[in-house]
Amino acid sequence: MNLEDKNPNRMGELLRKSLQREEVPAGFADGVLIRAARQRAAAHDSHVPSWFRIFSQPLLRWAAFATISASLIGGGIRYREVRREREEGEAAKQQLMLALHIAGSKLRLAKSKVNEIHTSRPEREPSTNRSRSKS
């Protein structure tokens, strides 16, 4: 600023000029918005674990989706198989228990019949002796 500029009128004019409203260049707002979006994305990326960033690629994202879906379907099928196997096993166990019960009960019947004859024999013998002695 030279001496002439120290003139208050001149200074006022300069001040008015510098504070004068100017039109922004075309595309300025878009540029600001793009820059802000980039900054936001960069900030977001810094929070995401590095291994997770591989899913930003669409192919890998689809592969991951397919793997998870296949695992879920496979797990579901396996669960149904295990459940069916358990049901069949329970039915087989019931059959086995029924077979053992029938076998056991018939064996007990045979044993009881044998016991009956053993216990009834000594009773009969004294009675025959008594009848003989009476006659």
Partner: protein, 192 residues
């Protein structure tokens, strides 16, 4: 190539032979199988080695009855049961039962109990199969007026353990008290 054919032929022959041998263990006469149509209720259990072992895997170690059953089944090879319950008496003929008993009149089998009761018509036969003086199987044929039961258990087993299972599973135990009435005929220890 020829070797492979021979191996295939031998394996097929062995499979056929083993199935025939297994079939010979217990063969119900055709007439007896027909009883199913006449019976009010039929129980049929056929469990051979792998099936038996698989079923025993589901026996609970916490349930005392199932624990007992697991002990009985541990070394068994097969269990076959046919039980027919009829509405009325005389649904089967004594000849049909006799045909079945006849299968076990062989040197392999010993009839250890044979009960013939004219009083209540309960006839029971128990045959043991002994191999090297060890129990290798048991057959029970029980013919009652309205019930006919065949049991064949293949493999070593403790008879007392099996009898213990007879009155379990919520079903009342059989009355083993002597009735005091004389039985018509009881045969025991008829070893052949």
């Amino acid at each position: 190539m020829r070797k492979a054919n021979w191996k295939l032929l031998c394996s097929v022959f062995l499979m056929l032979a083993s199935s025939l041998l297994r079939a010979q263990e217990f063969k119900l006469p055709v007439d007896v199988e027909k009883l199913t149509s006449r019976a009010k209720e039929t129980v049929e259990v056929n469990m051979d080695g792998p099936m038996l072992q698989w079923a025993s895997k589901f026996l609970s170690a916490e349930d005392p009855e199932e624990q007992k059953a697991a002990k009985v089944v541990a070394n068994l090879k097969a269990i076959y049961v046919r039980s027919f319950e009829f509405d009325k008496e005389g649904a089967y003929s004594p000849a049909e039962v006799e045909a079945l008993r006849a299968q076990f009149r062989s040197p392999l089998w010993s009839r250890v109990v044979g009960v013939r009761s004219e009083h209540n018509g309960e006839n029971v036969d128990v045959f043991f199969k002994l191999e090297n003086e060890k129990m290798a199987g048991i057959v029970i044929i029980s013919a009652e007026p309205k019930e006919l039961t065949f049991v064949n258990i293949v493999g070593p087993l403790e008879v007392d353990q099996l009898a213990d299972l007879g009155g379990e599973f919520g079903i009342p135990k059989l009355n083993t008290k002597p009735s005091g009435k004389p039985l018509a005929k009881v045969e025991k220890g008829d070893h052949k």
